[in-house]
């Protein structure tokens, strides 16, 4: 295959059974990928096959099914580790998504360490999942949050960095790519500023890992949280990647089976990571499904995935910008992943989402779990279209046509 060839999104679409569906009598045009992605046949089959052939608990029994399940579960971990270029598989802790991964760092790393006067740097555009855990840490420890402000274009004000990231900074926990503005953060500069102050860096990779090549070693970060279900995997799959030394220092958050070395009636000692953080029966089928999702994305090549989405986003941005009266939020397409939030003057985003749904087009409306950002934008809600590997220029046409149809209802 030609390494330079573009993705064939029309061909990819055929791998996703749900995309052959009709809704309200119209072919489904799925543009809510920032919320969750659809799943290819290979992922559905991997989960189905696991339950039909191998279902068993992992790391416990010695019978054949248990062995097969355990091997498949650990193979999935290795695939995910390679996908983000971890140094070793044991740096991956399976979680049910980005939220659980960030909470694990908040409670396992930050809670026992931070003290009054310490600072955690976030941004003004964080998803609630990368704010609320730090609010909890701040409340428990006396540490405080320092947000990096954004300009009117939807880009971070990097000139404010020297003041915000300072000797009191212990952790810089920022989004890698915004789920509302699409903004891709200048990670290298942020990492350099954090390292200069001896602070650690956590990236919320929920909107980056599915869409861009992400290499934790090249980025030189400390923690990466991401969701499997946004990258073709099943719900309740996701991971925390952390440098192994950090995982070794971290306290477990949940106690129970699998995470212990030795238990007496009065005390217990813990397993090494990642088992220490995976108490109880893990989501085995989900991890195996995520492994199959990683195989699918790897076979496409993440460089190509990123290029496809960049081109589609550029097209969608141009087409949307030409819609009369529309407000587009966030930076120009070259600074973003495939997420575009917008508002039409006369149609509330919820009404818009209901009406375009009528045309078969699935978009999101609301605050997208980013209330502080919407306060800053001065609106309660926005409509959002978000793209993935199976979206085509025809899907963009369908979106534009559906918007015009919705508008007619409100402006007959």
């Amino acid at each position: 295959m030609d390494a330079q060839a573009a993705l064939d999104a029309r061909r990819i679409k055929e791998d996703f059974p749900i995309l052959a569906r009709h809704v309200h009598g119209k072919p489904l045009v799925y543009l809510d990928n920032a919320a969750t992605s659809q799943k290819p046949e290979s992922v559905i089959r991997a989960i189905d096959n696991y339950y039909r052939m191998h279902n068993s608990n992992v790391h416990r029994s010695v019978h054949l099914l248990a062995e097969e399940s355990s091997v498949a579960y650990e193979e999935a971990r290795a695939k995910v580790a390679r996908f983000v270029n971890a140094r070793r598989s044991e740096e991956i802790v399976f979680t049910k998504g980005t939220t659980e991964a960030i909470n694990l760092v908040a409670r396992g790393w930050a809670m026992p360490r931070l003290q009054p006067g310490d600072e955690i740097v976030v941004t003004e555009i964080e998803h609630h999942s990368n704010l609320v855990p730090w609010h909890m840490v701040a409340k428990a420890t006396g540490a405080r949050l320092r947000p990096i402000p954004f300009d009117h274009q939807g880009l971070p004000q990097m000139d404010k960095l020297p003041e915000i990231i300072n000797p009191r900074t212990r952790l810089v926990a920022v989004t890698h790519a915004s789920n509302v503005l699409g903004t891709v953060m200048p990670v290298a500069e942020i990492v350099a500023a954090a390292k200069a102050q001896g602070a650690l860096v956590l990236l919320d990779g929920a909107q980056s890992v599915p869409h861009l090549p992400v290499d934790v070693q090249a980025l030189d970060i400390d923690f990466l949280a991401f969701s499997g279900h946004k990258m073709l995997g099943p719900t309740a799959s996701g991971a925390l990647w952390a440098r192994y030394e950090l995982l070794e220092e971290m306290e477990p958050v949940d106690g129970g089976g699998s995470m212990i070395r030795r238990v007496t009636l009065t005390e217990s000692t813990y397993m090494d990571p990642p088992a220490r953080f995976e108490a109880g029966t893990p989501p085995i089928a989900q991890a195996i499904g995520l492994g199959a999702a990683v195989d699918y994305l790897t076979s496409l090549g993440m460089d190509k995935v990123a290029r496809h989405e960049q081109e589609l986003t550029r097209l969608a941005y141009e087409r949307l910008a030409a819609v009369e009266g529309i407000t587009l939020y966030g930076p120009p397409p070259e600074h973003r992943v495939g997420v575009i939030s917008f508002n039409l003057p006369e149609v509330h985003p919820h009404d818009l989402a209901s009406l375009v749904d009528q045309e078969g087009v699935a978009i999101r409306a609301g605050h997208h779990c980013c209330m502080p950002l919407h306060d800053k934008l001065g609106v309660a809600a926005t409509a959002r279209a978000s793209f993935y590997i199976y979206n085509t220029p025809e899907d963009v046409d369908a979106l534009i046509n559906a918007l015009q149809a919705a508008r007619k209802v409100f402006r007959p």
């Binding site: 309200h24 509330h348 985003p349 919820h350 009404d351 209901s354 009406l355 749904d357 009528q358 409306a365 609301g366 605050h367 919407h374 309660a380 809600a381 209802v409 409100f410």
Partner: protein
Amino acid sequence: MSAEMYKEYILQHYRRPRNHGTLEDADIIHEDDNPLCGDRVRVAVKIEDDRIADIRFQGKGCAISQASASIMTDKVKGKTLDEVKAIDTEEVLGWLRIPVSPMRVKCAMLGVKVLQAGIHQLEREQAESN
């Protein structure tokens, strides 16, 4: 289904809401939003003999939430407070006469929820002062 949600009279209520505004001598002023979507309704209510004597509303949000609040203001006038507290989803959907999709029911219910919460608050305050 969803296009039928936007019947002309719903859009009329949205564009030109009934009983819009506030009341100088209101017995209840209550405001709340739907935390999931940020839609907001404020009601001002005048009560006489345990009945809704007059009501005004203001708000911001989608067509369904605002039209439903507008229609509600007509429907509740003259009702006793107990009757208003007993209004349920079925009754509100009956007023609207449109097929409200399950995800949008909370929009349709916002106005009534705010009014009912205002009545409960008034009754709590009265119970405390007695």
